[in-house]
Symmetry: C2
Subunit: 546 residues, 2 copies
Amino acid sequence: MPLKIALAQTNFLVGNIAANVENLIAAAIYARDELQAGLIVFPELSIIGYPAEDLLLRADFIAAANNAVYHLADHVTGIALVVGFPELDGDKLYNSAVVLHQGAILARYRKQALPNYGVFDEQRYFVPGNDSCVFEFNGTFIGLTICEDVWREGIIEATREAGAEIILTLNASPFNAGKIHQREAVICRQVKAAGIPLVYVNQVGGQDELIFDGASFVADAQGEIVFRAVEFAEQTSVVEFDNGQLQTSICAPLYSPIACVYQALVLGIKDYVRKNGFDGALLGLSGGIDSALVLAVAVDALGADKVEAVLMPSRYTQDISITDAELEADALGVRRHTISIEPAVDAFTGMLADVFAGTRKDTTEENIQARCRGVILMAMSNKQGKLLLTTGNKSEMSVGYATLYGDMAGGFAPIKDVPKLLVYQLANYRNAISPVIPERVITRAPSAELAPDQKDEDSLPPYEVLDPILERYVELDQSAEDIIAAGFRPEDVARAVSLVDRNEYKRRQSPPGIKISSRAFGRDRRYPITSGYRGGDASTLFRTPS
Amino acid sequence: MPLKIALAQTNFLVGNIAANVENLIAAAIYARDELQAGLIVFPELSIIGYPAEDLLLRADFIAAANNAVYHLADHVTGIALVVGFPELDGDKLYNSAVVLHQGAILARYRKQALPNYGVFDEQRYFVPGNDSCVFEFNGTFIGLTICEDVWREGIIEATREAGAEIILTLNASPFNAGKIHQREAVICRQVKAAGIPLVYVNQVGGQDELIFDGASFVADAQGEIVFRAVEFAEQTSVVEFDNGQLQTSICAPLYSPIACVYQALVLGIKDYVRKNGFDGALLGLSGGIDSALVLAVAVDALGADKVEAVLMPSRYTQDISITDAELEADALGVRRHTISIEPAVDAFTGMLADVFAGTRKDTTEENIQARCRGVILMAMSNKQGKLLLTTGNKSEMSVGYATLYGDMAGGFAPIKDVPKLLVYQLANYRNAISPVIPERVITRAPSAELAPDQKDEDSLPPYEVLDPILERYVELDQSAEDIIAAGFRPEDVARAVSLVDRNEYKRRQSPPGIKISSRAFGRDRRYPITSGYRGGDASTLFRTPS
């Protein structure tokens, strides 16, 4: 008997149970009435959004989520809903999925594989289930799984052995560059091995540091993708099975790898602003590549009328920096302001003259400039209710080439997980769509402009050297020895590694930003600030005690 | 046969394997030669310190830790060492303890109970062991356990059943107020039920947000504490067993509850400064109670010559605030500076005049003042290499009554987990030892002094009302309904809860501070910034869909 299954790729506000339930109901009614679906599948923990973090420890929150399931069951008929929720049973909490049909719970599944690595803390909250779940619906035997289950060996297979003819998977699978291909490859390999079609429904949207990219899909029993929803947008679509065979095949084209990252940044800003109720965004525009890119992304996310740019020149700002910043703002049509920081810098210099008497200039004086900019931008943010975006990239965050409470001041750091070389690629990508960043901004040597004729390369290895070292050290957890063995100069490696280690305290106070790499700073990389580990080969680590 | 067991209550620098191993060797040689101990017990994961967080994901770090165990085994003879380390076996990592004796591994135990709640993430790193471990040493059968094992029902009992006559427990048990009594009560109850003596060795010292309080102890088979080491300090001591009976009984007296918190704060500042290599500390001194307390603690931790105080008056600063701040600094003998913030405030007011034209004064102007102070203090910190201490308390951190990059600017926030009412108690406690905080500072109505005649109570419920509400909401995860049902006014509860929810973004960028409560902000309470949960009774949460 033919079965139409709707895939509800939904964007939730974490914790807003009432709004989420309304969305679920609206999507179900649409799927029933407009798509003639018999069953609709929602993402993992769809009642509450993902990840709800320590809200899951609150009894009132869990009670509300469990009640919401009964509410849902009572309010939609004529279509079966597969929804995720934190199921309370006695004192145990499960990451569960239920099938609601005609006011009753037709089936219930408890997630077996609870990820507790990277950004995931599911064993902090949930107890794992132990059993496969297969239910009959209109003559078809359907198996349920949740996210990590289909990455782990054996669960798809066990569900098929329990009698399933089709497997549904509810997901909240966060994006990083390359993740879509990885996800499809890993899951389709298991699907092919088990020889059973699978319907994969993913959440979409930004939630603090995470982007959920959607890209829900259907794989046939041979492990081929026969349906794919769009990336980075909500979509409720339908597929029709007949005897386990998909009747239609429509695959949304995939974005290029660089376009994926760009779209992730756009969605990240858009959802952080929208879900947190800001009236737009503002940022400091320096004439450099980083702020130019953040401006472009912000305008693509929010519209030019919702973004303001602030130029804050000092005595060290080159004229071409001002010119280029003005060109950027004007090309995108955003309102711009120019406020020299000199009066504040002069004031602080005078105020500190006594306590600094007899000392030499150092980075202190550079930091004062950056912090004067931070005060200006935060004042404008406070007054206008606009989100202040910081413009630091991952290379800078890694080595601490940034001023706490200065250029690091802000509510959201869109490119904090984007290495400098990728910043250039993204700028070129955006310019290929329409020219918004002057070519000179891309080709100039990068400078913080906090001292005369300053260049990033005065303090750091060239980014062509630095970025690959950082990728190995931060993302791949390689040791300095490993990285040197791969062909990098020992002095560059030692400098980069030491800077990364020493600057954890800055990162701990940085605003949240968008994870686009396999290992972002934040929840994804949990390092102690106080740490005596400085690497070193084990054989040379110890002095022989006397 | 008599057996002398040494308890090595040690303060480690997390990650510094070489230094930790040297400490272990020195303590072992001291225990062997001076205390005539046959066996010495170190804390949990003593080779690396606790918690090493994501250092545990690095292959080079794990290899170094495992090699260090062999190094240790080779370098100390004549005494058995019981040390903790992250044991790599194939691709599995265990939280293990080994007994090293005469160059060989005499026994090995893998922790069975891996805590993954509160500040603990052990399931992120480790696989649990499944077996008890009992070894014979000089005719005594000794069982091994690690920390959480002895909190969980059944593991002490199973170890006794496996033949143990004495149980050793290696621990890294962090402090919070009341923890010492709770720890001894829970463990002694199990010891009594199992009828077997237990030697409990705890780490001591500060590590980022955690304080390990030491207070190692020995319980006899009746569950009575028959030996206790000091709190909040290193100590290597020895106890002698003969046929399972302790031959000596020396219990260090316990600090009073308020003294415990004070000592935790002192140790926290001391270790953060020492382990991170700062040349002392500085702070802004306002004449209010919070900065007065932080100054006293800092001086008790570091000595007066290592602490500097900065007075930064504005037009809103009362004369008595300046007088009292001067009295505080002088009473403690610290160097003080006075820098008016007016020139910088005037500069920013002028610089922002155009963009703020036609707007009304609001908290923006207050924040500018606080941020000018932040710039001054950070400049002095940068120039001198002194750690900037923030002075905000937990009540303020909870409701966001603080300025990001203003009074929240700094490297360490000693009292961020101390509610305002406890700040007063701590001030009175410290004054009872010697008068260092003027009585007027304790009795004056608290004020941020950012606007004319401002009082905290203009914006917040009185702390006598606010603090108990916050304790219920933040520490106990009670709902607003629960708190109102306990007798608090609905409007006070609604206001407090809403402020806590809305200010997660500020807390996310706050410096680390010392956990002294059962639920601190930071690793201990992981809330989303973007959250739509606003509580509400489940029955009223949903509008009936049309």
